[in-house]
């Protein structure tokens, strides 16, 4: 992938089966602005080859929306790290990027709201999308991950970085 350092775990790729836990299946870092369509093609093809149709669709949606969010709201518009892993019978997708404390606080509040009523928040975010596009700063991407992809979402911080993890049963 252009501008992308993609490292597939060769041992897992060769084995054709997932361990219960272990290193990332895919670990991608970007030091410049990612090509979202290229990433979609890559992750979609990978997931179709590895997961059931339904799970592949969910992981692809989650991966794409997390990267889109990082590009849109990350403070540097670069330095993104994507990770896909199988951990203890769960598929985990995570995205790490640099951000500002205010953004982390806002994300935490949004996730709490989303966790309490995923479907209602999803519908509300769609409704909020109506009207002029200027100034929109919605959480539709996260709402899709929670409601459409049915992933649990949590948030961690490391110094100036935020790590959003989305997880579902394999």
């Amino acid at each position: 992938m252009t501008k992308v350092d993609a490292i597939l775990s060769r041992a897992q790729a060769a084995s054709g089966s997932f361990p219960a836990s272990g290193p990332a299946l895919i670990h991608v870092t970007w030091d410049s602005s990612p090509d979202l369509e290229q990433f979609l093609g890559f992750i979609s093809a990978y997931c179709k080859g590895r997961f059931s149709t339904s799970l592949a669709e969910r992981v692809t949606l989650t991966s794409t929306e997390l990267l889109d969010n990082a590009v849109r709201y990350g403070s540097l518009a670069r330095d993104f790290t994507y990770r896909l892993a199988i951990e203890g019978g769960y598929v985990t997708v995570s995205m790490q990027n640099t951000t500002v404390p205010a953004r982390i606080e806002m994300l935490s509040a949004q996730l709490r709201r989303l966790e309490s009523a995923p479907e209602q928040v999803y519908a509300a975010e769609l409704e909020r999308s109506m009207g002029p596009s200027s100034g929109r700063r919605s959480m539709l991407g996260l709402a899709r991950i929670r409601h459409e992809a049915e992933m649990r979402i949590d948030l961690q911080t490391e110094a100036n970085d935020v790590i959003i993890r989305a997880q579902c049963k394999r």
């Binding site: 369509e37 979609l40 339904s54 692809t60 794409t64 409704e127 999308s129 596009s133 899709r144 459409e148």
Partner: protein
Amino acid sequence: MSNISQVELPTLASFELVITPPSSVAMRGTIAIPDPGLLLGGCFRRLHEASLADGLRELSVDVRQLTFVNSSAIRLFVDWSSWVAVAGPQGYLLRFRTDRRITWQRTSFAVLQSLGGKSIALDAE
């Protein structure tokens, strides 16, 4: 010649839009670019205006082969639904043909229909 047949088609490698006059549109592929509104928003708007100018009672938009869209692209459909809702009785029925096996279509269009009221119809296969 109908107005809708003269709408200029967008150029996006992963996405194809086909207009079949007098009242059908089909979309195929994926939309994952960061700001799809810049490339596609104008086309959607022109399709809406052409449908009004042609006096259509109904426009069918087939998205069954549109397998993935990002959240920014979903907003394009939200916008279109809101334009039709605003047009009211002088407007047309916007009928989306969807595939319920595709998650984004199943979840998004159900909500859109509830937001758009009588202006939106859904044929989910």
